[in-house]
């Protein structure tokens, strides 16, 4: 696995987020799959492993915290980065306490996420 070729799953019910992140992260050589429906994303997670999961917190049906728990049950090495438009200390603390690798608040710039993913890649290599 190379730092420049991570398998990344992006989950956000706002289409614009997945669309923009896919473009931005693929430019860095990563392979990116985007989901707007958390149930479909969980089904995909059952099929294969990803290096990094980027997930929104507030979603209908299955929220980001539940996705985080499900991912870590299946693959402890996967790094989960939580993004949300409802950035609060409590949400961040809960996500980090439950094993999230990092936390990023909307709105954000692709470079902000790239830096976090870079750290995740280094952690995966270590």
């Amino acid at each position: 696995m190379s730092k420049d070729n991570l398998q990344i799953l992006v989950l956000d019910d706002e289409p614009i987020v997945g669309k923009r992140l896919k473009t931005a992260l693929e430019k860095n050589g990563h392979e990116v799959e985007v989901f707007e429906d958390s149930r479909l994303a969980l089904r995909r997670l059952d099929e294969r492993d990803f290096d990094v999961i980027v997930t929104d917190v507030r979603m209908e049906e299955v929220d980001g915290i539940q996705v985080l728990e499900r991912v870590l049950e299946r693959s402890a090495r996967t790094k989960v980065i939580v993004i949300t438009g409802y950035a609060t200390v409590e949400v961040a603390r809960e996500a980090l306490a439950k094993g999230a690798f990092d936390f990023i608040a909307k709105p954000f710039k692709p470079d902000d996420l790239r830096q976090v993913i870079q750290k995740a890649a280094e952690a995966l290599e270590g």
Partner: protein, 401 residues
Amino acid sequence: MSRISGLLGRVLAGPPRSARHKLHQVRFGRLIGSLLRLVELSDDASDKLGGEWILDRSYVASFVGRTLDRAREIVFDSAVLTGDHSAELHARLDGVRADLDRLMSTRSPRGDEGATAVPPESGENGAEREHVEEPEYQALRAAIRRLALTADPAPGSESSPTVPRLAEVVQEAHERALRSFEGLHFRSWGRRAGSTLVGSGFPAPVRVVDSGGGVAPAHRAWGSSVGWERVTSAPLRALLGPLVTSDRRRRSSASPEPGSFALAVLGAGRSTVALNWPTGALLVDARLEDHAVANFVYCALRTEPASGRRTRSRHGDRVLGRGKPVRRAEGLERVLAQSGFRRLDLGVGTTGWMSGQTPDDTRDVLGRMGRSLETLLLDPPSASRVPRRPLSRTPSGVWRR
């Protein structure tokens, strides 16, 4: 009997007037604070629109909600200052809100907004391609267009007189609040009760109302004069200090224009100065404290009569500002430009503010403003120095020849 009646008059007139000034000062300060936050919100949204930000509908909704909340506060504070309900302004605000609700309720903005082409980016084959801006960004652009205070809030957007704009409501509320606040000052000047004359040979008489900590305690007795050295309000000292030091030079060169006066409401770290002269008026509200985050300087300069009220001066009655030239505003305009003031189109001659400066920087800006005030208060320059063409105001509020 007359001494008893005088004492009674002071007891009855002094403290309540001071308290009313303080309440007005606090309320006006809140209004300015809301204006500042409105501008910050608009700046932030414009930044999000112009940069590579990833945002969603929740950001747009949050921007709209917070902006309208601030506008509602401005209208409310204005209504308190003017003593009316400002029902018309609230109704217009409701109109802006309804228009934005309609806008936000659809994923894609209405047809009149149009699709906006964003800068081209490289496609998979390396070729340049354009794509249509996503609905979230279109919605944000449309919201900024309706909510920003600046004349050209969203570059690239078309102006339309049918779109209700928040700026018109805020301008009206600000204008009413300003006139009400100035009116209180002018009435206080006329009655003089509750204020103290500062005896330091300023270009024009200066009276102060102490709202707490602005004047040394032993010298707060209303009705008497107080020496400049007893004025403890930091922003007022920074603003008017230069006029004190240049007093000798001024006396040798020119005399104050009859009818000019200033009244200041003072706290230790806050001063609100209403400066009035026959061709205009200036309100400077400033906070100068140790913590930069608290500091701000706001000014509203009129080059037309502030209230139309008659004021009695030692030269007799005169109506404030009838047909006088506005060229002396240039000096203050220059200070605002050089000091990095944020200029706002608020329906008043010139409105600007700056905030978050260090105490030294705030003191410096106020000092420069103070030096420019001299040109506002003194007699107009001689004919040889008068510009050949009169000044006119541009749509952005800048006076140009």
